[in-house]
């Protein structure tokens, strides 16, 4: 691997890291897990002057459920931590279902949840998950912290709304009013392949009634697809064959797939619909049991 030349710094605090970014005036880049940035450096798609490695900043690798039930994921939490976390497996089914489907075990050991969201790859699994969960990102810059809702965070393919001198420090997932349910399904050609189509479903349920729902899609558009408006088919309803079919249809209609070497547009749309149904059916069965 022969990237173009860059300076490398490994600060010990967020403030120091922000200073370096600020001095870089847009030509500095944060390095987290490196699982997207390093390939881009290798291919010389990215050629920053300065790399700011945040891996040596202590205290960023927490997964925390606050007393109010909200979930906080620090900037250095790796995909693997989420996959192995018992708390996540018990309390956040969408993330629990997605984690083992992200990349392969090697990539999961390094890549970070927050880094993936920042990278905003239209095929990335975590940006979709975050949108379905109505999450937000806490960022810090020279002037302090601010919180950006997911729908405003991902601007387009590989574009987020961070300023050049800001670092994303944590992801926040709001507490459910009832019980968090949901799931994640992904069609890939091979483990570690980017999604042909991925579906994130987040449900907030009280008994068998849906209080709130979220949907987002990866791999089926020029950017991560926010399909949250399809929640209207479910809110206040039970998961029945009819409501499930309606929601699946609405989500599939929001997909913007293109025909390519992973499949035709119609096929991808069909997969989205099938996967939404499968996740909702699984959650309705779970409810009855």
């Amino acid at each position: 691997m022969y990237p173009s030349r860059f300076k490398y710094e490994s600060p010990k605090t967020i403030v120091e890291a922000i200073k370096l970014l600020d001095a870089g005036k847009g030509d500095a880049k944060v390095l987290a897990g490196g699982q997207s940035l390093v390939p881009m450096l290798k291919l010389r798609f990215a050629f920053p002057d300065q790399i700011v490695d945040i891996n040596n900043i202590p205290g960023l690798d927490y997964i925390r459920f606050d007393a109010d039930g909200s979930l906080h994921i620090g900037a250095l939490v790796r995909h693997e931590h989420l996959e192995k976390s018992v708390e996540i497996s018990m309390r956040q089914p969408t993330i629990a279902a997605a984690a083992p489907l992200v990349a392969d075990p090697i990539v999961r050991a390094r890549g970070t949840f927050v880094g993936s969201v920042c990278h905003a790859d239209p095929q990335g699994d975590w940006a979709a998950t975050m949108i379905a969960l109505h999450g937000s990102i806490v960022v810090q810059g020279p002037k302090g912290k601010r919180t950006i809702a997911m729908k405003d965070f991902v601007l387009g393919p590989y574009a987020n709304s961070l300023n050049y001198n800001e670092i994303a420090i944590e992801a926040v997932i709001p507490a459910p009013k009832g019980v968090a349910r949901g799931g994640y399904l992904k069609l890939e050609r091979r483990v570690g392949d980017f999604a042909t189509a991925s579906v994130a479903v987040a449900l907030d349920m009280s008994g068998d009634t849906v209080l709130n729902a979220g949907f987002a899609l990866a791999g089926v558009g020029g950017k991560t697809i926010d399909a949250n408006e399809a929640a209207s088919a479910l809110i206040g309803q039970k998961l029945t064959e009819a409501t499930i079919a309606k929601a699946a249809q609405l989500v599939a209609a929001l997909a913007e797939p293109r025909t390519d070497h992973r499949g035709s547009a119609e096929y991808k749309r069909h997969i989205v619909e099938t996967f939404v149904k499968r996740i909702l059916v699984a959650n309705s069965a779970q409810k009855v049991a």
Partner: protein, 793 residues
């Protein structure tokens, strides 16, 4: 008294691989591990476009960069008569482009600098002005009457056709079709794929002006062929050329050809008088080095109602890319494609083959196969399934009816090969039993209740491995034999050198086992060395599963020569005449008195310390082996798959492999070869291909688009063995390295097709990606050709 052969690591011992000691410790010695003092680094600038005339090249900004030592262009190569080089198929290939670029990724310039970063930066400073020409990305476009000519450099070249070639008996085959009750047809595309060894290609060239000696460390499966080619191309005296093939990180046929990078690095070393290292990156490897397959296959079978095959017609159209660079025996244009149907007793066959140039990477290497045998066997087994279906006959029964019977060997195939031996029905029976063929109908009905489609696919084939004999097989006129040189030291330990070259295939382990078998010297006492043309005897190298059939035989023969001399030494030591000496593993004894004997080690010591008067000292010899025939292993692969009809995703429920590769030297290594081969077969059937979009951009030039299966999705394989010793090989062994890659794909594809039989689908071309399976099963239509390509963002 005799030694226990397995204990000394002889034949049949699943001896642990000696080479793994260094590989698993990260102590392998690959080309890129070699560092020479003052070494410079080379980077190649590749064409971003598929077809264009080069109007100008401006290298001045690259020259101006600090640390840049040399920038080479096609024009500078041409001044030294090195802009073009011969290919292994009597064509020429550009080293650095002069007139035109003819595929995306073609080598245009080379920068030699103090470190690889500078070399890469400097490549970015070179400005090439291209006048874009229409790209041709498939044979149909190539054959169009108004198609632009790709090879306008070649005098006498008409259009884009490379060859028309035929074999077989046309008149007799026509008659067979006239007599047929049923004619069954099939049409397929075997997609372009790439061997993609983990280690890319590369070289380190070191020219020493003082001695006139050129040493090149190079990723090659055939170092002696490279030496011959360098002598020819660079016009250097052969004794001054030393090619060293150090540890090889996988070859699979990709490291047989000579690539432009090697030639340019050699010239750069001569010009700079410094060692010059060139290590290709992964994209360079995937986009410019020898690919495999890319053949359109069409054919038909003449059948009698009772299931007997009366004749076969085959038609192939192959896409060779910009240069006809297939690595193949020179007598044939489309390799050993005509080995198709060798397992079946078919009276007559005819094949017509056409090859075209396109604006794609050149190659057509034997990717883990004996020269296009993969395409031949895939076509064969897909045709056989179609024929069985058309006759309404059970697919296993149809094979059984038409198999060459055990006692028919040696059997002359319809295309003229001579098979040597086999027990085809026995292999099939073992496979059917293991997969539970009898219960399959019930299982399928059960799955249907769950909404799943089940299918079973069989692939049975024998293939020709181990070229030569030298009468029929040569590469660029050099006959395909092989060699071994064995020297026994006075302590009874030994060094063995051969002209073959292991590439992760375990030669250092198995070659010693052959010597152990012949001489009774423990395998651990034998050092195996290959790959250095200054020390190894001449050989044609390792590919096409030829090492055990040819070099392996040479090893047995040289050991026997050594044993013959040792017998004389034994007679001398035991003070009896040679006729009174008997041999048992590792030991000579006096006939009638088994107690009185000497070991092979005793004989070795005597060769240095106590030889009889008049005997030449030492205990060593060399053998060159020209095989009388190819070896013919047989394989029966059966896959059972389950399809999710809502998504088209298919899972392999069970896979059974019955391999008969004759006598197994090291069963563990044989099993490893089969496992690896089946994994590659699964990859091609399921996910792997290279294609080009309309503009000639390669899809599959990196590991995001060119998929290698991992342990996660690769199914488990159950292995079974049958042993039919090869009648003409000194130790009864046959080739095996490629059987699974060759025979495996059809088992997977036949299984999916079997599951879709009721939907009216007859063929889906590989790769059987879920979207293609879904489309076929929902529309009932066949899917032909490559997947649609990315349409740009």
């Amino acid at each position: 008294m005799s030694l226990n052969e397995v204990k000394i690591g002889g034949m049949g011992a699943s001896r642990r691989r000696v080479e793994d000691n260094r590989f698993i410790r990260g102590k392998g010695n690959y080309v890129d591990d070699i560092v020479l003092p003052g070494m410079l680094h080379m980077e190649i600038l590749r064409s971003p476009v598929a077809h264009a005339r080069i109007k100008s090249i401006d290298t001045s900004a690259a020259w101006d960069m600090p640390g840049v030592r040399l920038v080479l262009t096609g024009e500078m190569m041409a001044a030294r008569n090195l802009a073009w080089m011969p290919t292994l198929s009597y064509d020429t290939a550009a080293v650095l482009a002069t007139d035109k670029v003819r595929f995306q990724g073609q080598e245009v310039c080379a920068v030699i600098a103090d470190d690889p970063y500078i070399a890469k930066d400097a490549c970015g400073k070179i400005v090439v002005d291209y006048e874009i020409l229409p790209p041709i990305v498939n044979p149909v476009q190539a054959a169009a009457p108004d198609a632009v000519q790709i090879r306008d450099d070649k005098a006498g070249q008409v259009g884009n056709k490379i060859f028309d070639w035929e074999i077989g008996d046309k008149a007799r085959t026509d008659n067979a079709f006239a007599d047929a009750d049923v004619v069954s047809k099939i049409e397929l595309h075997y997609p372009r794929t790439h061997p993609s060894p983990m280690e890319t290609c590369g070289s380190l060239a070191d020219y020493d002006r003082a001695t006139g000696k050129l040493t090149v460390y190079l990723t090659t499966q055939a170092p002696h062929i490279v030496r011959a080619a360098v002598a020819m191309v660079a016009e250097l005296p052969e004794q001054n050329i030393r090619i060293v093939s150090p540890d090889i990180g996988g070859g699979f046929g990709n490291k047989v050809p000579i690539y432009p990078g090697y030639v340019v690095a050699i010239l750069a070393s001569i010009l700079t008088e410094k060692p010059v290292k060139w290590i290709e990156d992964k994209t360079g490897n995937l986009t410019s080095t020898g690919f495999g397959r890319d053949v359109y296959l069409k054919g038909e079978m003449a059948l009698r109602k009772d299931g007997k095959i009366l004749g076969v017609r085959m038609n192939t159209i192959s896409d060779h890319g910009a240069f006809f660079a297939d690595a193949q025996p020179s007598k044939f244009k489309i390799g050993l494609m005509h080995s198709a149907f060798a397992a079946y007793d078919i009276p007559t066959a005819h094949m017509f083959a056409t090859g075209y140039y396109t604006n794609k990477a050149p190659g057509g290497v034997a990717y883990r196969c004996s020269f296009r045998v993969t395409e031949a066997m895939f076509f064969q087994e897909r045709m056989v399934q179609a024929a069985a279906d058309d006759l309404g006959m059970d697919q296993a029964e149809f094979r059984r009816v038409n198999f060459v019977k055990d006692e028919q060997h040696p059997h002359r195939t319809a295309f003229g090969f001579l098979t040597d031996s086999g027990q085809y029905e026995k292999c099939l029976d073992i496979g059917l039993e293991a997969i539970g063929y009898k219960n399959f109908a019930a299982e399928k009905a059960e799955a249907a209740k769950r909404g799943r489609l089940l299918g079973i696919g069989i692939s049975t084939m024998t293939e020709p491995l181990g070229a030569g004999n030298s009468r029929e097989y040569d590469i660029l006129g050099i006959k395909m034999f092989d060699s071994a040189e064995l020297r026994i030291h006075m302590s009874g330990k030994a060094i063995l050198r051969t002209g073959s070259r292991g590439q992760g295939t375990g030669h250092e382990t198995t070659w010693a086992q052959i010597v152990a078998h012949e001489l009774g010297i423990p395998a651990d006492d034998i050092l195996v060395e290959e790959g250095d043309t200054d020390t190894a005897p001449f050989g044609m190298g390792t590919y096409a599963s030829r090492s055990t059939p040819v070099a392996g035989a040479a090893i047995a023969m040289v050991a026997r020569k050594v044993r013959a001399k040792a017998r004389k030494l034994a007679a001398h030591l035991l003070e009896v005449s040679e006729e009174d000496i008997e041999w048992e593993l590792g030991r000579f004894y006096v006939r009638g008195n088994q107690e009185r004997g000497v070991t092979i080690q005793d004989c070795a010591m005597a060769a240095y310390s106590n030889m009889p008067d008049g005997m030449e000292p030492g205990l060593e010899n060399v053998a060159y082996y020209d095989p009388p025939n190819l070896t013919w292993p047989f394989a029966c692969y059966i896959a059972k798959v389950e399809i999710d009809p809502e998504t088209g995703v298919w899972d392999v429920l069970q896979f059974v492999a019955v391999d008969d590769c004759g006598v197994r030297i090291n069963p563990m290594i044989v099993e490893g070869q089969i496992m690896g081969g089946l994994t590659e077969a699964y990859a091609m059937a399921n996910m792997q291909y290279q294609t080009y979009d309309e503009e000639g951009n390669i899809i599959g030039g990196n590991y995001m688009d060119f998929l290698l299966p991992t342990a996660w999705e690769t199914p488990g394989f159950e292995l079974y063995e049958v042993v039919t010793p090869c009648p003409h090989h000194p130790i009864g062994a046959k080739g095996v390295g490629e059987c699974a890659t060759v025979g495996g794909p059809a088992a997977f594809v036949n299984a999916v097709m079997d599951a879709l039989k009721d939907k009216g689908v007859r063929n889906i071309d590989m790769p059987l990606m879920p979207n293609r399976v879904y489309e076929a099963l929902t529309t009932g239509k066949d899917i032909y050709g490559m997947p649609p390509v990315r349409s740009g963002n």
